[in-house]
Subunit: 473 residues, 2 copies
């Protein structure tokens, strides 16, 4: 399959240029004015063509709980999330489809799904998400979320003796499960790859990290985890290792150019140096960090230290959406509050590069996608500059990043295959998806979490917060 | 004109209730299940009905420059803004229409337009915006932006002797102009009111404030101004008055229950007490504050002190959109970074109340609109809960506020008159607007501001920033 986009605006230096773009099979063949049309001709007049962005951290099944968890910090939020987690693999399929669609409609062509596994149906969950992403046609990195410690171990003890009990599955069984996922679903040729992805230091043993490293090396898999999302996790790392979490992860060999780490809110300057030296990637999830009160990740410091930064939406229960352009916007303008010198602030063109090439770099694929470059994969998004939210005409990239674009993606391709045409998703029926999401849910504003009630007193005590009353109802 | 909305979800306590709502002429006549249909029947099934929100601070003509001004602080941003300000009243008409449409499509039914006046065509500018808001049918508070000091006076001197020169128009001429605007365009019966609105202490003399107070008292007009948006303004107030800006505004009688003040980022605890005592309203513009690096307004402190808070988008050149739901979301979740105790964080239902009743209170009209109350004006918005971004079904208000709603407003009414029907704007042709915005603009990413170049060295020196190079190109 070949096609040629004609008369489309692309970014060049600090300005724009109107060109034609030839795509042959899965790759960009040529970019220049007045090219011969190969294959189908696509009119790019009054449109902007950018490389697809990477939604570099999400948890697709959280879609089932978006909007419902009250404003509480991560440690309480996750207790409620797990208490009401979906248990049917068909839900995992539908939320993967929904996550892919919202990502595509907001400029993304790749998603990293740190996939929460349904207990007892782990492989079925991975299969469902795999099928969802294949059906929509987005490029997906499936990162089964694993741990080998019980949820309560994620809260610092404050020096008390606490017995968390065993996790439901032994470490080796989890690694076996991952091996099975690799065997069945690691399909780079079909645009779906498995990543090794322990949830993070708060709930994982060194043995689990080391088993993942071994699989990563053997199969050339990318590595993913949460890292120091909250202040509580920073305290926990000090209790657990007697050193910083980053120092410990370096020592066990987790950090590398194949490693992307979500959040990275509570790193200090020496941690940041380690991130730079090991060529690890920070995935910035600004909306989730604000929604959960995790803090502001020191993104300007990362950039100054040469650490690669990508953007993620995080799961829909902490965002509560998969609008990648919204995450990019807030992740770009938020940092003025941490550094008063505007010479350090992120410009819209830098944001675009972080979201595209930064995302690809975090997946160790900067040579394959993430920019409009001849020979690279055709992961392309075309924005309609005649949408109301892109008018009047000013600086299209400035308005795309700093504005609030609505329905602006008119066409998108992944690996040279069309996934959006004339603002419509091509490969799945969105009305059908909506009906299924509607039918499988109900309006339940008043649900009460027993797990939060059980956890809150200890959390408030360890974090030095007054009182123990549940603060929401 | 009467109509009856049937089977619509409304908020009740912490839950929801399905009711019918009768509207007669401009008012809500009854809210209860199984009402008799009066007038047209509107199907509210699978929809949520909320009072319309107030976009409590914007500058409509900034729409012409949205997306183009680089990330710089207010004092440099405004120099560029004014250098390229639109000069044709027809542009002011189109941007008022665009501002009204984007506000309506994101839940707003009232807009406060702190309107930048075209030099030499001040009355024509006001007439154009007045016509735009009447054509769309939104409720509008037109606040002609006035000042009587030159732009350079807005930057602290740092102790140096600086001659700013005279402003182009004497104070009395400006007050005469305002009198003329009141005579011609203060039309409460037509849903358009004039507000007195000096831009703020940074560019206005006491004589101008006092003249505005006199007009406000005589015609019962609301009062509006910017207040301590930036650190530079806080320094300036100390230079100018030898006390805080809030203390000074209290002394001259500016603060009242008719007074709403945009931004309020740099107030201290004693200032906050004065705001509470005088029953003044804070208008929170979180996106603009982040985009311009102004800081984070202490919204949780205002709420704890009993100060009324409303939300605004601010002008589109500092936002860069008029998506009111986005401003509400970010203005709600941002404050977790200022107070770690989640018991103080803003819940989605509190956000809705701030955006609706808080907005009406700031306009001294809480008795007339801002809630679903029998006898109040029918300023109503109906949200489609079968939109993809509102699925799956969880807590509709939670998802509306914390999610990223796209095309969710299916119907809206202002003063009982329909302004949105089946997701479409009723009273103006949006395609025609888009064509005009397109035709009157061009993609100009590389424009250079002479005014910024002239201002930057002094700004950096006064604010203690190193170097003097222009940080963007």
């Amino acid at each position: 399959m070949s096609f040629t986009i004609q008369n489309v605006l692309i970014s060049e230096g600090e300005g724009y240029r109107t060109v034609d773009v030839q795509i042959q099979d899965d790759r960009i063949l040529a970019i220049a004015p007045n090219l011969e049309v190969i294959g189908t001709a696509i009119d790019g007049t009054n449109k902007l063509l950018l490389p697809g962005f990477v939604n570099a951290h999400t948890h697709s099944s959280e879609m089932w709980q978006r909007g419902i968890i009250p404003p509480v910090p991560l440690e309480l939020w996750i207790a409620e999330l797990y208490e009401f987690t979906p248990l049917d693999p068909e839900q995992a399929y539908l939320s993967a489809v929904g996550t892919a669609i919202e990502t595509l409609l907001t400029g993304g062509t790749t998603v990293v799904d740190h996939l929460v596994l349904i207990p007892g149906k782990e492989i079925e969950t991975i299969e469902a998400a795999y099928r969802g992403y294949r059906d929509v046609g987005i490029r997906a990195f499936l990162a089964p979320l694993i741990q080998d410690e019980a949820l309560s171990a994620g809260i610092p003890t404050g020096g008390d003796e606490v017995n968390h009990g065993d996790y439901v599955r032994p470490t080796q069984a989890t690694l076996d499960l991952l091996q099975e996922a690799i065997n069945q679903f690691h399909r780079p040729d079909e645009r779906v790859e498995i990543m090794v992805a322990p949830t993070g230091i708060q709930l994982c043993s060194d043995a689990l990290f080391e088993g993942c490293i071994e699989l990563s090396d053997r199969y050339n898999l990318n590595r993913h985890a949460h890292l120091l999302e909250t202040k509580a996790q920073k305290l926990l790392a000090e209790e657990k290792y007697g050193c910083s979490a980053v120092q410990h992860l370096k020592e066990i060999g987790w950090l590398s150019e194949k490693t992307s780490l979500a959040h990275c809110v509570w790193l200090d300057d020496s941690d940041i140096q380690i991130m730079a030296e090991t060529r690890s990637t920070v995935v910035h999830n600004p909306l989730s960090n604000l929604r959960l009160g995790s803090g502001i990740a020191p993104i300007l410091k990362y950039r100054q230290a040469g650490v690669n930064v990508a953007f993620g939406c995080d799961g829909s229960a902490s965002n509560d959406s998969q609008d990648l352009l919204e995450a990019i916007k807030i992740g770009s303008i938020l940092h003025s509050v941490t550094d008063f010198d505007y010479h350090h602030w992120i410009t819209p063109r830098q944001s675009v590069e972080m979201a595209s090439l930064g995302g690809a770099t975090g997946l160790n694929r900067a040579d394959q996608f993430g920019s409009l470059t001849v020979g690279k994969k055709a992961d392309l998004v075309m924005y309609d500059l005649k949408s109301l939210s892109m008018l009047p005409r000013t600086d299209p990239i400035g308005l795309l990043i700093l504005g609030r674009p609505v329905n602006v993606v008119s066409h998108a391709w992944v690996n040279g295959k069309q996934v959006i045409s004339e603002h419509e998703i091509c490969n799945v029926n969105v009305d059908d998806l909506k009906e299924k999401l509607f039918d499988r849910s109900e309006w339940t504003p008043k649900r009460k979490s027993i797990a939060v009630a059980e956890t809150e007193a200890r959390y408030r005590s360890v974090m030095g917060l007054p009182g123990t009353t549940i603060g929401y109802s």
